[in-house]
C-alpha cells in the first residue's frame, strides 16, 4: 500500500547560546493513507517540534532539520525551496494549533481569512472562494455559515474558532492534517464535539497526525500511536496494543499515572524524575535514569525500535531481550 | 534602630535588583552581539561617557575653557588646537570635551526627574483606575498636546535662563510618555496571579506597587530612557542654542553651535565640531536604544 508519509531518522536541532538543543533526535514512522496517528508525550518530549519539522515551518536560522527520508506522497519535503513550501502549506499539509485565538488574525473577518487561503491555493476568485468557505463551515457544524463568514474572531467562542480553523485547514483538501493539541484549551463538552468532528471528517483528508499529552484522546480517535520521549520514539503501534498492552516501562508508567475514573486505590502512581535536558541528553537509553527496571547496558547502548509483535515496536533492551 | 533596619532593607532591595540586572546583563550582551549596529551604539556611548567623566583631566587647555584670550581668537584647527579656537580665543577641543560632561549631567538629572514623575504617576493611575486614572491621564494628555521641544522652550524661557531651568523644563515635558508606558504595564500586571497572591496575604496597594509592579515595569522603561537620553541631550542643546538653556561661558554644545553661527562662513570649525559631537552622541544612544528594544520586546523575551 502506498504510504502517505514516510519519516526516517528525522532530527531537528536548535542552535542556541548554550549549545545545540536536540529537540528531535532521530524519529522514524510511517503513516498509511486513511490512518490517524497519535503522537503522545509530555512537555519537552519534542512532539510539537516534530510536527513543525515535518511541515518545515520552523525558522531556518535557528532550527536545522535533517532526515534520511521525509516524503509526503512520494515528494521529498526536505528539498523544497521556500516558494515551493508556500504552495504546500495549506494545500498538501495543514496544521491546527492549541490555542485557536492565537492563530487567527483578530483584525479580519472569518470569511476574508478563509477565502484568502482558498483563493491562493485554488486560484479562483473571491466569490467562489467564499462559497467553498461557506460549505466548509457547514461541514464542521457551524450554524448559519453564511452569516459566520462576516463575523470577527472575537465574536465567537473558543470551540467555534477551533471549528473555523478545522474548516480552514480542510478547505483545500490537504493530504495530511496535523493537529497539535487541538482540544487542550477547550472545555470537556466542546472537546468531545471537536474530537467527534475530526473523526467524522477523516475522509476529507488522507491522514491525520494528532499530537497530545492526553492518552485517552488518542484512544478515542486514533488507530496508531507513537510515544515520544526526549526527542526519541520509545514505543509505537496500534492503539489497542500500546494502550492495553504497553511494553515500554515509560508507557506503562505514564498510563499508571493517569487518575482512574472508576476507582482509584490509594495514592496516584507516577514516574519519578524529570525529562532530561535536550542540551545534554544521557548516553544510551534516554529514559534509563528514571526507569524502574533498567539494565546496566541501558546506560551505554541506545535501544532501537524493534518489532515485538505485528506492527508493535518498542525501543527497550529489557523487552527485546526477553 | 528603625531607621537602620529600613536602611538595610532598602539596601537589600537595591542590591537584589542589581544582582538580577547583572545576571540578565550577561544574556543581554549576548543578544546585543547579534545586532552589530547596537554594539556600535554601545561603543559610541561608552566613548561619550568616558570622555565626559575623565576628559576634564586630560584636556590640553583646562584653564582655558572659561578665560578669554584675544590674541588667540578664531585660529583654524592645528596641531596645537585640534579643533581651532573660538571668537574669544578658547580652545574648541577642550570646550567640546568639557561639553560632554555638561551634556551627560543634564541628561542624567533630567531623565531621573522625568522617570520619577512619570513612573509614579503611571503606576498610581494604572493601579487605582477610576477617577484618579482619569485625572492623571487628562493632565498627561494636556502635556502631550504640545510639541515637546516648544513646551520645553516655553517653560525654560519663563524661568530664569540657565542650566537648571533647562533640566527642569525638559523633565516637565518628557514625563508623559513614561506615565503612559508604566500605566499600560501596570494595567497588565495588576491582574497577574502573583499580585492576587500578595493581596490575599493582606498586602496594601503601596506594597504591591513598590514590590511587584515597579520592578516588573523596568524593562520597557529602560529602553525608553536609553533612547530618550539622546533626545534629551539634543533638547538641552536646542535650548542652549536659542539661549534659554546653558548660558555663556558654560561649555555646552548647543550654545557653542549658536555662537558659532555668526562666524560660520569664515570660521566654520566653531560650530561644526560641537555639532558633530551632538550628532555622534545622539546617534549612539539611538542605536543602543534600538538594540535594547529588540531585546526587551516581549516576543524575544528571555525565558
Amino acid at each position: 500500500m502506498d504510504k502517505l508519509l514516510k519519516v526516517k531518522n528525522l532530527k531537528t536541532h536548535f542552535k542556541t547560546r548554550k549549545g545545540i538543543v536536540k529537540a528531535v533526535d532521530g524519529i522514524s514512522f510511517e503513516l498509511e493513507k486513511g490512518e490517524v496517528l497519535g503522537i503522545a508525550g509530555e512537555t519537552g518530549s519534542g512532539k510539537s517540534v516534530a510536527a513543525k519539522s515535518i511541515m518545515r515551518i520552523l525558522p531556518s536560522n535557528t532550527a536545522f532539520s535533517k532526515a534520511d527520508c521525509l516524503e509526503l506522497e512520494g515528494q521529498n519535503l526536505l528539498e523544497l525551496s521556500k516558494s515551493d513550501l508556500k504552495n504546500i502549506w495549506g494545500k498538501k499539509i495543514a496544521i491546527i494549533f492549541q490555542n485557536p485565538f492565537s492563530y487567527i488574525n483578530p483584525l479580519f473577518s472569518i470569511g476574508k481569512q478563509m477565502s484568502d487561503v482558498i483563493s491562493f491555493h485554488e486560484k479562483i476568485n473571491k466569490k467562489e472562494a467564499l462559497k467553498i468557505a461557506s460549505e466548509m463551515l457547514h461541514l464542521v457544524g457551524m450554524p448559519n455559515p453564511k452569516s459566520i463568514l462576516k463575523y470577527y474572531p472575537h465574536e465567537l467562542s473558543g470551540g467555534m474558532i477551533q471549528r473555523v480553523m478545522i474548516a480552514m485547514s480542510l478547505s483545500c483538501k490537504p493530504a495530511l492534517l496535523i493537529a497539535d493539541e487541538p482540544t487542550t484549551a477547550l472545555d470537556v463538552t466542546v472537546q468531545a464535539q471537536i474530537l467527534k468532528l475530526l473523526n467524522d471528517l477523516r475522509d476529507k483528508t488522507s491522514g491525520i497526525i494528532l499530537i497530545t499529552h492526553n492518552l485517552a484522546i488518542i484512544l478515542e480517535i486514533c488507530n496508531a500511536i507513537a510515544v515520544m520521549y526526549a526527542g526519541k520514539l520509545l514505543e509505537k503501534g496500534c492503539v489497542e496494543d500500546v494502550i492495553y498492552k504497553p511494553s515500554h516501562p515509560y508507557t506503562q508508567g505514564l498510563l499508571q499515572a493517569i487518575p482512574k475514573l472508576d476507582g482509584q486505590e490509594g495514592k496516584l502512581k507516577y514516574v519519578p524524575g524529570n525529562i532530561p535536558s535536550a542540551l545534554n541528553p544521557p548516553d544510551g537509553c534516554r529514559f534509563s535514569p528514571r526507569c524502574p527496571v533498567s539494565l546496566p547496558c541501558c546506560n551505554h547502548r541506545e535501544p532501537v525500535l524493534t518489532e515485538i509483535s505485528p506492527r508493535h515496536f518498542v525501543a527497550c533492551h529489557r523487552v527485546t531481550r526477553s | 534602630m528603625e531607621q537602620i533596619k529600613n536602611h538595610t532593607r532598602l539596601n537589600n532591595f537595591i542590591v537584589k535588583n542589581l544582582l538580577i540586572t547583572i545576571k540578565n546583563l550577561d544574556n543581554i550582551l549576548y543578544q546585543l552581539r547579534q545586532n552589530k549596529l547596537s554594539i556600535l551604539g554601545l561603543i559610541m556611548i561608552s566613548f561619550f561617557v568616558i570622555i565626559a567623566l575623565f576628559g576634564p583631566y586630560f584636556v590640553p587647555y583646562a584653564q582655558d575653557a572659561m578665560t578669554t584670550s584675544v590674541e588667540n581668537r578664531l585660529l583654524p584647527p592645528s596641531s596645537e588646537h585640534f579643533f581651532g579656537t573660538d571668537d574669544l580665543g578658547r580652545d574648541v577641543f577642550t570646550r567640546v570635551i568639557l561639553g560632554a560632561g555638561v551634556s551627560l549631567k543634564i541628561g542624567i538629572i533630567a531623565i531621573s526627574i522625568t522617570m520619577f514623575i512619570g513612573i509614579s504617576l503611571g503606576a498610581i493611575a494604572g493601579y487605582f483606575g477610576g477617577w484618579i486614572d482619569e485625572i492623571i491621564m487628562r493632565i498627561t494628555d494636556i502635556f502631550l498636546a504640545f510639541p515637546n521641544l516648544l513646551l520645553a522652550m516655553a517653560i525654560a524661557a519663563a524661568l530664569k535662563p540657565g542650566l537648571t531651568s533647562a533640566m527642569l523644563a525638559i523633565s516637565l515635558t518628557w514625563w508623559p510618555w513614561y506615565t503612559r508606558l508604566v500605566r499600560g504595564q501596570t494595567l497588565q500586571l495588576k491582574n497577574q496571579p502573583f499580585v492576587y497572591a500578595s493581596k490575599s496575604m493582606g498586602a496594601n496597594s503601596l506594597y504591591i506597587i513598590v514590590r511587584h509592579i515597579l520592578p516588573n515595569c523596568i524593562g520597557p522603561v529602560i529602553v525608553n530612557a536609553s533612547l530618550d537620553m539622546g533626545y534629551i541631550i539634543l533638547a538641552a542643546a536646542s535650548l542652549g542654542f536659542i539661549g534659554v538653556g546653558a548660558q555663556p561661558p558654560t561649555p555646552e554644545w548647543g550654545l557653542m553651535v549658536s555662537t558659532g553661527r555668526k562666524f560660520f562662513l569664515d570660521s566654520s570649525w566653531m560650530a561644526i565640531f560641537p555639532g558633530m559631537a551632538i550628532f555622534f552622541t545622539v546617534l549612539g544612544f539611538n542605536l543602543l536604544g534600538d538594540g535594547l528594544r529588540d531585546i526587551f520586546d516581549p516576543q524575544s523575551r528571555l525565558r
Binding site: 466542546v190 484512544l219 | 493582606g202
Partner: protein
Amino acid sequence: MNTKNNHLPILKINQLKKYYVKKNFIGKMSEELKAVDGVSLELFKGESLGIVGESGCGKTTMALLLMGLVKATSGEIFFKENNISNISLKEFKRMCSQIQMVFQDPATALDPRMTVQSSLLEPFKIQKINVEQKIIDQLLQKVGLSSEFKDRFPHEISGGQKQRVVIARALALNPEVLVLDEPTSALDVNVQSQILNLLVDLKNQFSLSYIFISHDLSVVKCICSRIAVMYLGKIVEIGDTDAIFKHPLHPYTIALFSNIPSLTKKNIEKIFLKGEIPSPTNIPEGCPFHTRCWKAIPICKKQIPQVKEIDKNHKVACHLVEKVKK
C-alpha cells in the same frame, strides 16, 4: 474520606451572588454579567469539596469571592461563624491568613523577579511577623523540595517545582482552608500525580480543608470527598463523590461525565450537547441549562428549579428529578 468531623461547617456560603455591571456612557446599565448567581455551600473541617464546571460557570469567580479578592454583590460568607462578607481592610488583613489560595498557572503565580526565598518570606513580611531563616527550609521540606531551591528564580525551575513553591507559600501562614483553583491543569500527568499526592498528604498532616476547583473530573474524583457541579453561576448538583459518579442525576452532570475521554470506559454512549454555553451576560430564563438539555420539558423554560435534597447529602436543581422522585 470522611465528611463531617464537626457539626458546624468551617466555611458556609449563603446565596452568594456576583454580578458585573457594564454601564454605558450615560450611566445606564447596558450589560449584566452574572458570574455567580446564588450559590450556597458548606465546607466541613478536614474535607475536600470539589467544584467542577466549564468555562463561564463562575468557578474562578467563586475562588476570588472566597478569598475576599472581589466583593460579592449580595449573599454571605461565614468563616467559623464569623461573617466575612463585608469586612474592613484591617479585619481582612487579620484573618486572611486563615484562607489561602493555590493558583492555576504556577508561572504567573510567582513574581518572576523574586527568588523562591523572597516569595516564601513574603507572607511573613506582609503580616509583619518576624521569622528566622530556617522557616524557609521547613516550608520547602513540607512540599518536598530541598534547600537548594532557595535562591532560584521561577524561570529556573520546572512547572511542578514552581507549583510546590506556590503551595508552600500558601501554607506559610498556617491557614485552615486552602482554595485551589485548577492547581494541576497546567502540569503534565506525571507531575500532576505527584502534586495531587502531596496535596492529600498535606491535608491529612495539617488538618486542612480544601475547596478544589477543576474541570478535570478524574482529578476531582481522586482528591475530593464531595463534589459540586456548577453551570452558569449556579450549582446544579452537589453530593458525595461516590454518589455523584455512580448516579449522576442532573442532565448536565450526566452529559459532562459521558464526555470525559477515558482509558477504561470505552462503551459509554457520549451525549453531545447541542449548541454552545450561553454567555453569562445573557442567561436563559428558567433553568439555565434548558437550551442545551435533551430532556427539557416546558416548565424548564419558565421556572428556575429549586435545589432539592434527593438523597442523603445529594442535592439537585432540576425539575425532572423532582418529578421522578415524586
